[in-house]
Amino acid sequence: MLNTLKDLRDLVVSLKLTVVLLVFSIILVLVATLDQVNLGVWAVQEKYFKTFVVFWKVGNVSVAVFPGGYTIGGLLLLNLLGAHIYRFKWEWRKLGIWFAHAGLILLLIGELLTGLMQDEYHMRLDQGQTKNYSESYRNIELAITDTTDPKFDEVVAIPEKPLLRLETIQHPKLPFRVAVKAYFPNSLLGMRAPAMGAENPVAVTQGAGTQIVATQRPLTYKENERNLPSAYVELIGPEGSLGTWLVSVALEDPQTFTAGGRTWKMALRFARHYKPFSLTLLKFSHDRYAGTDIPKNFSSRIRLTTPDGKDDREVLIYMNNPLRYAGLTFYQAGFENNDTTTVLQVVRNPSWLIPYIACGVITFGLLLQFGIHLVGFVSKRRGAA
């Protein structure tokens, strides 16, 4: 038993493990880069790096084929920490190496935290438009909004998971249950053929779905395409069913209905993240090199306001010059509609400072180490002379 533990310890602290893990990471990065052609950046990150095990589909069966990014990164961290603890011997001559490795450990932890905690949204603003929310690129929510109060709207946002599991959702804020009859992670809307009607698996009795039908499509991972989910939901009140609706990200407007003496709006949409401040696009500029159509610069002149009036200022966002405010970073990401709409990428990453600190610590450690060696070398030469 003791021997097995010793063997395990020797393995954890060994340089061989480091080399093997580095080789594994090289293979992982190579394969993931090649697979990016099929899946796109986001799906590749999820499949190869933000996972413990990489699965490949063989027919209909998922087979574990390779350790994922979390496993390799975690073991590297363990290896590094283990080796340091096991071989620790205080020596001021090695202080620089200690700092460099501490920086490396911080970098690995920072990357793990970024992977787990970073949120990415986007905000589309037409010129003159004001918004106080950003939207997710991929996450979906079923938003049921009580619009009865003249002063505010109350939103109940149901995330995608219960929809996918076709759950029946009961919430204290809703005077009805939401029964998910069908959920298509990617779908295509079409008109219901007048002579047909029974082709649809779910009979829709309310709203746009009485004329439109959603058909399931395979999920797309292409960079220039997005999945458009749709769902059939039945609302069930204390007196019985209120009807079945088709909701879809591809439908433009929320569908309105009354229940429990209140007025409601329902929409399937990309998840929104509301903010305690609002942004107005004053002007989007797209400069080109004179006489050509080659883009030179993109910038959005934004007005940032808070309801309490504490902040009311203009900000210029352009490439590599994002707006950092309230823990969020707004990057210039794109534009639409003949240069009158701007698309800002909104990133929340509480651990964004860690890589900068880690790089600083590594640089300091390396400089210190080289400095110590240089001083030693110079004094040795002086002594010899």
């Binding site: 905690m117 996450n139 929510e141 109940v156 591809a250 050509t292 639409e336 003949n338």
Partner: protein, 377 residues
């Protein structure tokens, strides 16, 4: 079992991460007024070439037959490059670029405003269009010419632009440079435009909608019968297609998702239904859309290679139409469908007439004539 502190350290963030996004959220927001936002398109984010990589976003080049011209003395041709059909060096700091793209590239107004934007001049409205375009008739070609002065105050620039619709494509001639240089070349530019000629093959081909290898489109459908109502119906916010519906079709209120609905009366039974819808992007592509229709009629799907035999391709006022005619449905009550798919300005428009077989057969000429009235604004 004792949990090692290191293990705890490693698993804690994972546990934290697992809790996210699985709870129903409730929050209050200030009263929202629903603004008509464009529906999500299956094409990620950057509709209309809005990514950071390209200027105009137009990547499709019009291939096939086109225009020919004579280069004036003093100008030098650099030949085709990239998306340019030709580049003529007018002066050391002024160039004339010749490009051609399929379709109308968003229409005259959009193109002129794009040019005005490049010279930092405010866009014009529909009403000001006629005042700012000089129309020329050159060897049977309809040439529109604009003269835009702009740029910064210390570096005034000028652009002489001409656009020429030729067989389903639009050709652009753009001379841009310092104000004084371009103004001095204006007479020569106008003389140059007078040398434009459609290639002999263009006239015979009639459309640049496909590559030269494709068969020419079928003979034109019958011209609009006399009973066409003259009321023009314009649907859709922003740029939309226009059409004239036959007088005997009854316009119905446009329901959700539909740009327009017409009931086609049938004295012998159930009425036919003509629906007009438009969705952003290519909605999955031509084959997927045709197969969706076939599925509605309980017909087996077609492989991409089989589509050609079942559709007719038409070019109408610069628009490329794919017309399908399918009969299917349940054995007891067969249904026939005439459908047209029309890509236009980044969206796809669908015109679909469905109804009993006899009615649709009778209405086919009217439907074809109706398609011939389609035009871009």
């Amino acid at each position: 079992m004792r949990l090692h502190p290191l293990g705890l350290l490693l698993t804690l963030p994972l546990l934290l991460g697992a809790c996210r996004d699985s709870k129903v959220a409730v929050y209050r927001i200030p009263k929202e007024i629903d603004t008509p936002v464009p529906a999500a398109s299956p094409h990620a984010g950057m509709a209309g070439g809005g990514d950071m990589s390209g200027g105009d976003g137009a990547v499709a080049r019009a291939d096939g037959p086109g225009l020919s011209w004579t280069v004036p003395a003093g100008w030098q041709s650099k030949g085709p490059s990239g998306v340019r059909k030709d580049t003529l060096v007018v002066a050391p700091d002024a160039e004339l670029a010749v490009t051609a793209f399929p379709g109308d590239v968003g229409g005259e107004l959009a193109n002129i405003n794009r040019w005005r934007g490049q010279l930092q001049v405010a866009p014009i409205g529909e009403g000001e269009l006629d005042g700012s375009v000089t129309r020329l008739d050159v060897n049977g070609l309809k040439v529109g010419v604009v003269d835009i002065a702009g740029g910064s105050t210390d570096k005034p620039a000028r652009m002489l632009g001409a656009f020429v619709p030729v067989g389903g494509a639009t050709w652009f001639f753009k001379l841009i440079g310092p104000d004084t240089v371009v103004a001095g070349e204006k007479a020569k530019f106008l003389a140059f435009l007078q040398t434009l000629k459609a290639d002999a093959s263009t006239a015979a081909f009639g459309s640049a909608h496909g590559s030269a290898g494709e068969p020419p489109p079928p003979a034109a459908a019958p011209t609009a019968p006399a009973d066409m109502a003259n009321t023009e119906v314009i649907k859709a916010e922003g740029p939309g297609l226009r059409w004239t519906a036959p007088a005997h079709w009854e316009s119905r209120p446009a329901a959700a998702m539909r740009k327009a609905t017409y009931a086609v009366p049938n004295p012998a039974g159930a009425a036919g239904d003509l629906s007009i819808t438009a969705f952003p992007g290519d909605v999955g592509g031509e084959v997927a859309n045709l197969n969706r229709w076939r599925n509605q009629l309980q017909l087996p799907p077609l492989a991409p290679g089989e589509v050609e035999g079942t559709v007719t391709r038409l070019a109408v006022h610069g628009l490329n139409l794919t017309v399908a005619d399918y009969t299917g449905g349940p054995a007891g009550a067969p249904v026939r469908m005439l459908g047209a798919i029309v890509p236009f300005a980044g969206s796809t428009w669908f015109f679909k007439l469905t109804g009993p077989v006899d009615l649709v057969a009778k209405e086919k000429p009217a439907f074809e004539a109706f398609l011939q009235t389609l035009s871009a604004p």
